[in-house]
Symmetry: C2
Amino acid sequence: MSSEQSVGLLSGMEARNEHLKVRNYRSLYSFATALGVGMLVMVLSWLVKYRDGFSWSDPQLQFNWHPLLMVTGLVFLYGQSILIYRTGRNATKKRLKVTHALLHLSAFILAVIGLKAAFDSHNYAKPPKPNLYTLHSWFGLVAVIIFTGQFVFGFVSFLFPGLSRTLRAAFLPVHVATGIATFTLCVVTALVGITEKTIWTLGSKYQDLPSEGVMVNFIGLFIAFWGILVLYLVNDVDFKRANLPEDEVALSNSNTD
Amino acid sequence: MSSEQSVGLLSGMEARNEHLKVRNYRSLYSFATALGVGMLVMVLSWLVKYRDGFSWSDPQLQFNWHPLLMVTGLVFLYGQSILIYRTGRNATKKRLKVTHALLHLSAFILAVIGLKAAFDSHNYAKPPKPNLYTLHSWFGLVAVIIFTGQFVFGFVSFLFPGLSRTLRAAFLPVHVATGIATFTLCVVTALVGITEKTIWTLGSKYQDLPSEGVMVNFIGLFIAFWGILVLYLVNDVDFKRANLPEDEVALSNSNTD
């Protein structure tokens, strides 16, 4: 459907208003994505420059995969995935759902490898370090369990085989609210995690604010502002995607439009 | 206005729907408040039982005022204050604004004393400790500055002397979005703060998960879930307060209803 046709369905005032909202969304989304990419580049630089890079055999370097993969999967891709309905507002609902599921799948795979890196780096250290005692690990465990449940439940309910229209409509607000809460928890987990890593690594040298300390603080600021912007973009009703005429056609043809 | 009269203004279906939303709000709000009170009691118990309580003369004990006052002011009261329009939905707009301002004022006063406690505990330690080098302190500084700006700007715009109706309507969404983002930042700051305090205090003993470690982890879980519930209650449009007929009367009579 061309944009001329879709404008034809709205009054001039509504179309103007809709155009303004979309423009505001696009500006803020671009800014947020730039912040998010900056955040990933900074995490990578931190690990390469100050933490000796990556390895899957040396437990100390294997750990470095953990922050990189978790921030990429459960902070950046997760944020992009919950924004996809607004970012791709002119795509069909079906295509948006598939993209949402693929982004979530990528995030899930990165998270599983990232968790393995963290557990391995504890278990194969000499002497081995215990697991799951910090607040960061408790948050992370809760977040990953809910994320996985949401992914499986969302896939079965909304994509394949798909529940009845009534059930889907009833579950959708729960899926959305739980997803937004879990994203918030992932951002919090990342921030608590880089704080504990920094204090363990730098110790009292953190006080003199060495370049690594400054870099980690900036990574924290970027993660927090990325998270807050995603929450704003997903919660503001102004930016909510309007249904397309195709959605209605799809609704009457299939269970899982 | 009695509830019978207000029901009279709505259709039966609308009234039933409104009643259900209010009931859902009240249940979730009560649960969140119980969590929030539990969080404050736990912070107090932690500081008394494991951190030797409070003093304003010994820098080490003076520090303990910091977590107690900041969590009370910028996490608990701040959350209650942004929810007040939903919690007190049947009060007049004017009364809600005054309560919102008083809750914010209390939070601000507690935060100022709490900040003084933190700076004093660094400056009067022997040897003195540097200030403002951790991610926690950077987040806190940003949060307090924006909170103060919002408080002053909100008071002048919406309460006294009050701006024109057009300007107020234009500023309101900015005030709300900035307030919600700053509340999120305060919750994050608290979680990063208790993580850094725990690692500095317990060090490698944290690995054995002593009772203090368990308690701090539970404080963290309570803070996070209080924060996430407040964000849900304030963002869900279902729980938004509907204007009362008095609001309209007030609008035509005054600038600052």
